[in-house]
């Protein structure tokens, strides 16, 4: 499967990238390419122009600032796996990263690419929502920030317009009260999840507060299970699992029926919930 023909430009800077994208009728941004080039090979996507942002400097930093961990969009999964900052300040990401693909994929794939592509079965978009992060977006009219809860709109549809470039995400840095949990069920190591859960909470007393339960592989985008969150915040794991029936209505796909995914979601919540409530992190 060879791609349909396209033109190629290498962006020298962020401004140059935005200018190039704006100048074409149908342009796609090339970062890690681990999703994009597969779709090009299969001719599922046939843009006129590929704008390669891999040489734009300054987008691959991981910085702690003002209680936020800012992760540049070009940070590779492998770089993130090795990052002491991510381990310390975004442990949920650290838990999720080993589940993503395989070593060669992680060497090239980027955090920004994962967030921007928004595959409903991918790990990081769910983590991003669970952490109540922010997306830093550069576009023709300047920079804007979009909260994670408002970022995913539908199947492969995000707050990004075709003219935008995601430049970084910001995650509230973990504190002593932060609790996180991550689990997924995939048929094989590195596969997209049949169902997965990225969860965060704050604990300062007997019951958790600010519970965020974000499931993936169960819809067209990451799904926040708000009824389950409320039950868990009240300290009732059983009720939380039961409440998933209100929160989730997964469609069937080639790997599993909606019924199986719903069942798996319940098991994920049971396995993750204790960690969110207790003292261990």
């Amino acid at each position: 499967m060879k791609p349909a023909p396209f033109a190629y430009e290498r962006a020298r800077s962020l401004d140059h990238a935005i200018e190039l994208i704006g100048g074409a009728e149908d342009a796609r941004v090339l970062a890690g390419g681990q999703s994009l080039i597969a779709t090009l090979n299969m001719r599922l996507s046939r843009p006129q122009l590929i704008v390669d942002i891999n040489r734009v400097s300054g987008l691959d930093r991981i910085t702690l600032r003002d209680g936020y961990l800012e992760i540049g969009a070009l940070v590779r999964y492998a770089q993130a796996e090795r990052s002491a900052e991510i381990a310390a300040h975004a442990p949920l990401f650290a838990k999720a990263l080993p589940f993503i693909g395989h070593p060669a994929i992680r060497n090239r794939g980027t955090i920004g690419g994962s967030i921007a592509f928004g595959d409903p079965a991918a790990e990081l978009p769910a983590c991003f929502v669970a952490l109540d992060g922010e997306a830093v977006i550069a576009g023709p009219s300047g920079t804007r920030v979009v909260k994670a809860d408002a970022f995913y709109k539908g199947l492969f549809e995000t707050a990004l317009t075709p003219r935008d470039v995601l430049t970084a995400i910001r995650l509230p840095a973990a504190t002593g009260e932060t609790r996180t949990g991550f689990a997924e069920f995939a048929r094989r190591h590195g596969d997209y999840a049949m169902a997965g859960l990225a969860a965060t909470a704050r604990t300062s007393g007997k019951t958790p507060s600010d519970v965020r339960l974000v499931f993936f592989g169960v819809g067209t985008a990451p799904v926040r299970a708000r009824a389950a969150e409320a039950a868990l915040a009240a300290g009732d794991i059983e009720a939380s699992v039961a409440a998933l029936a209100k929160d989730l209505d997964p469609p069937d796909d080639v790997q599993a029926t909606g019924a199986v995914k719903r069942r798996l979601a319940g098991v994920l919540l049971k396995r993750v919930a204790a960690g969110l409530m207790g003292n261990a992190s």
Binding site: M1, K2, P3, A4, P5, F6, A7, Y8, E9, R10, L20, A24, L30, G33, Q34, I37, A38, L40, N41, M42, Q48, L49, I50, D52, N54, A78, G101, H102, P103, A104, I105, N107, R108, R188, H189, G190
Partner: protein, 162 residues
């Protein structure tokens, strides 16, 4: 005016290469077709099987998921180059002695991927070896002999313990 065809300059197995490429050509197709380096193989063209694994600037990548034009200025190593340098002679020997390859199609990718794990040093467990190689499809061996070979080389490199 944006161009389909680009001149690229890159280093492949230590040799400087200058070619003009169609932007849509992947690096693995470029290596195979333009340079005749057919040791890197094409199995799926969507990044799943690992037969196309090559090294770009020292790290392993899926050759079917990178464009040749992206590799302008890069340092590429294929199985031929890595083999000729002698870097994986012990691993190749272990594969041959233990019949950790049958048809050989997955083998270049398997060797480069295994070498990335072994280069970290230490003694990975069989589970860790299997997890690291989980993105390299082999239809012939069933993986057992491959794990044996990688485990043996890890032990030998660590000082021949056990």
């Amino acid at each position: 005016m944006s161009e389909r065809f680009h001149d690229i300059v890159l280093t492949v197995n230590g040799e400087e290469v200058r070619e003009r490429v169609d932007a849509r050509k992947t690096i693995v197709d470029f290596l195979r077709e333009d340079l005749g380096l057919t040791g890197s193989h094409v199995g799926c063209e969507h990044g799943v099987c690992g037969a196309c694994t090559v090294r770009v600037d020292g790290i392993i990548v899926r050759g079917c998921l990178m464009l040749a034009v992206q590799c302008d200025g890069a340092r590429i190593e294929t199985i031929e180059g890595v083999s000729d340098q002698g870097e994986i002679a012990d691993l190749q020997s272990a594969f041959e002695t233990r019949n950790a390859l049958q048809c050989g199609y997955c083998t270049p990718g398997m060797l480069l991927t295994a070498q990335e794990l072994l280069a970290r040093g230490g003694l990975p467990s069989r589970e860790e070896i299997r997890a690291h190689l989980s993105g390299n499809y082999c239809r012939c061996t069933g993986y057992h002999a491959i794990v044996d070979a990688v485990e043996a080389v890890a032990q030998a490199r660590s000082g021949g313990r056990r």
